[in-house]
Symmetry: C2
Subunit: 135 residues, 2 copies
DNA sequence: TCTTGACTTAGAGTGCGCTCAAACTCGTAG
DNA sequence: CTACGAGTTTGAGCGCACTCTAAGTCAAGA
């Protein structure tokens, strides 16, 4: 698989794939006769996993640590486990924070919506000052 | 309230508050006799709301749009409502993505954990090749 | 043979959101 | 009076994660 196809399948740009290789997030790719990168399916699987880590907000330097451990073999499995557990905990906390923010957003949206409804229903029935303020 | 106290209470730096004022996210603050910024509670409330937007990943340029609408008065309420609804939808989608990533993380963590347990229990009972691979 | 398009490299540039520096002014405590 | 800490300004610098440029190579199709 050439870099273009891998990029398309992983949903990132070929530029980004080369960048990842440069910084060590991807191992140096095998080359074909003309010096072009040639990938197999395992790279796609790895990129998909990196995408999960990225979606969940892991910084590249931590992905590098994980990638280095992976490359170092099974002796690092405990460390890898611990890194993922710590990351999962952070992600869970972040999801909780987002949900609390969503509740605030819902409240505010409801406020705007009822205000807009009132305006449509009884536009001049109340002076502006008596409407529920929105902040 | 001086900028230092506001910063402490909002959980951001005074630098950041001045930066927000510079770019128009905060209105120009009232000054005391010596030209220092003097805030009332409403600024803290606004900063707290901005913090929610930030936590949920809204870029500053969208916060600026929202702030500009707020400053423009009640005529923009429908637009503000729509902006928040669009944002809420994006946040909900992001939460869903995070939860799907969390499921993948859980699976991987379980894989490492069982592998670590096996190693502790019957370290030499199986050749490495027969262990469940972890990717 | 010629053209097209995907690929190669090293390195420069971009956008975001701060974060800090330098040089200065105040108000208050000792 | 002096020292200190907290504030002021403009503008530069930073860390992150790409993203693009320039100049060149290569393989396949018309």
């Amino acid at each position: 698989m050439k870099i273009g196809e891998l990029a398309r399948r992983a949903g990132i740009s070929a530029h980004t794939i080369r960048y990842y290789e440069r910084i060590g997030l991807l191992p140096r790719a095998d080359r074909d006769g003309g010096g072009r990168r040639d990938y197999d399916g395992s790279t796609l699987v790895w990129l998909e996993f990196l995408g999960r880590l990225k979606t969940t907000g892991m910084p590249i330097r931590d992905m590098l640590r994980y990638a280095a451990m992976r490359a170092a073999g099974p002796a690092t499995e405990r460390e890898r486990h611990d890194l993922l557990v710590a990351h999962r905990d952070r992600v869970r906390a972040h999801v909780a924070a987002l949900q609390s923010c969503l509740a605030v957003l819902d409240t505010k949206i409801t406020g705007y919506a009822s205000n807009l409804t009132n305006e449509a229903k009884d536009d001049d029935a109340l002076p502006n000052q008596l409407r529920k303020p929105l902040r």
